[in-house]
Symmetry: C4
Subunit: 201 residues, 4 copies
């Protein structure tokens, strides 16, 4: 299978997962609310959670294309690894809602842990997908540049550990954990903004 | 990255955001309604809100392609700008529902403001995306025609101000504000209908 | 704009509108139902409505491609006509749910009318879209065959009237009206199955 | 019609059906839950059901491309068969939710039967779609390899019977039935993982 087919399916899942995030915001404001203005202001964590998860999924979509740009063809194991990765990404709206709804209440720890472990699983699937494709140059394009390939490997390996660290902090302080999730998203945006115009895509 | 990849993702978000609008209408008619006919007639603002937001998202989809048609390639900053833009567009179903449900009640002001500021943010992201790509001809196609390029710039710059004006009127009269949002959509349709068959795409 | 861009967006709306239909079935079976088996059997109109609307949207998707296959390019008016058409198609899940929930109760008339007029509007938008593109060969491909073009025109023109007839019958007998909507879908499937392997696509 | 058009639509339905599965998990955790951590742990069947159905839809997506890779063109009957197939696949989120919610209660039998018969219908539609296309080499590519073609036929024919067997066991033991559904998904993943890197795609 060419990677073109995989891209259509993957882009679909990325786009739908990101767009479904708005349903979380929507569910926070019921129709029979008394003071709409106060309620719309009160649910501000929902907007923030929407933005953080939308941008995170967006960054992952960019990274997925960075991977596929180095790949010649897809075999069945690579397709399965991608299905596992997309399964994690399509899961993101659920923990996003939990964090938005419970960050200010007793459920904050459980919410932060659910969000965090989803991100850890996603980062692990990302690394596995890439390592399978690039290991022994299994699926790489003939003209894939060694510097780019090793650069991708280097930049993906810390991902699971960074998210694991931010997740485990939730046992001590869920709020700190959530702030770190935001900081990671901001970091990735900043990194792309600063180095983005010269970096290879 | 070529712009083809970006188009698949962007078209997905535009299509999903527009199609999800029907869920707002759907939620207005509960299963155990007593007089279905009366209820279906009573929720007419939902149909109008559905139409206005669907057409607005549709026009934005057309404009997005007008932009991309002038662009040669996408760098990471341009992708990030697009993710920011799509984040605004995927947000539209939420304020659309607020307006449909509250335009006839005390929540009209909050609903109109939420809808309006969403549109202001969307228009700003549209301008920023275009200005980044076209500034210094950064990402433009070599054969991009200067007249078309400056024409796009001229036609996008007023967008945020027009929506800001219509939004601020909500403090005085939310209904007027909502009517203006409809008028802006009708204007864009009329503009395209009158000049559309000769204009470059 | 080439028609390729339009197809991505349109295919997205067709696919999402069809797939969202399952949410109507889903909403019919609440989590705390006492006798799940009885409930799953009781909501059989939901399965039938799901199938009829899914197939109807599927047939419309086929027809949309039949149209686009004859078209060279898209101007802004044609894009707007398509947005209007897709707005109707994305609306279909709502009246589908109304029919499924109310066909056996007092709301049957209102449900059938809502479903019917949605179909009338969709058929009208289909005809308008085609007539704009084919009128004076405005957007047709140079090699578009006159027989195929006039064949499409002939086959689309009765659509609104057939649906209008089936809809108006709802004032006398909503059940007859709903049976006719099913019969129309079955007819289109049968027509395609019988003539489909030889007909041009 | 070329198969490219069919792929865009089909990939859309596959991607949306898979991504909508998260709504089932989401609905299991209401906003006003008392102990979020306990609830998130309690609904573990939802995560398992999400994973099994996501992977099953993913495997079907791979198989659908395996079919299309052997096919030259699509006629109307083939498109209709595909619409029937996609109608089954878009249905999967509903029985997935039933199983996740009721596997530990009295509704387990009805849930397992609904899930099982959905899979039987999907497997039948898969076989019919392929048999129509490959019968008498009706739609096959000129260079389609006989070994691959007969291999696909052989591997699809048992599908409906395997799922029927697993389904009927639900009358004796719904839990066994559900475990078998999981085993079938695991088997397909294992089969692809072991033979996947050498098998033709």
């Amino acid at each position: 299978m060419t990677t073109a087919r995989l891209e259509t399916f993957a882009d679909g899942v990325f786009a739908i997962a990101a767009t479904l995030l708005i349903l979380n915001v929507d569910a926070q404001v019921s129709e029979d609310v008394h003071d709409l203005g106060a309620r719309v202001a009160h649910v501000w964590p929902s907007y923030l959670a929407y933005a953080v998860s939308f941008v995170t999924i967006g960054i992952m979509w960019i990274n997925h294309h960075t991977i596929l740009a180095q790949i010649e063809r897809a075999d069945r194991r690579f397709l399965l690894a991608n299905i596992g990765l997309l399964m994690c990404i399509a899961f993101v709206p659920f923990p996003t809602r939990l964090v938005a709804e419970h960050v200010r209440s007793a459920g904050a720890e459980a919410a932060a842990l659910t969000y965090g472990f989803t991100m850890v699983a996603t980062a692990i699937m990302f690394s596995l997908t890439w390592l399978y494709a690039s290991g022994g140059k299994r699926l790489l394009r003939q003209d894939a540049h060694p510097t780019i390939v090793s650069g991708i490997t280097r930049s993906y390996l810390p991902g699971p550990w960074i998210y694991l660290g931010a997740t485990l902090i939730a046992f001590a302080s869920p709020t700190t954990s959530v702030v770190l999730f935001m900081a990671i998203a901001v970091f990735y945006v900043a990194e792309s903004s600063i180095f983005g115009s010269s970096a290879p895509n």
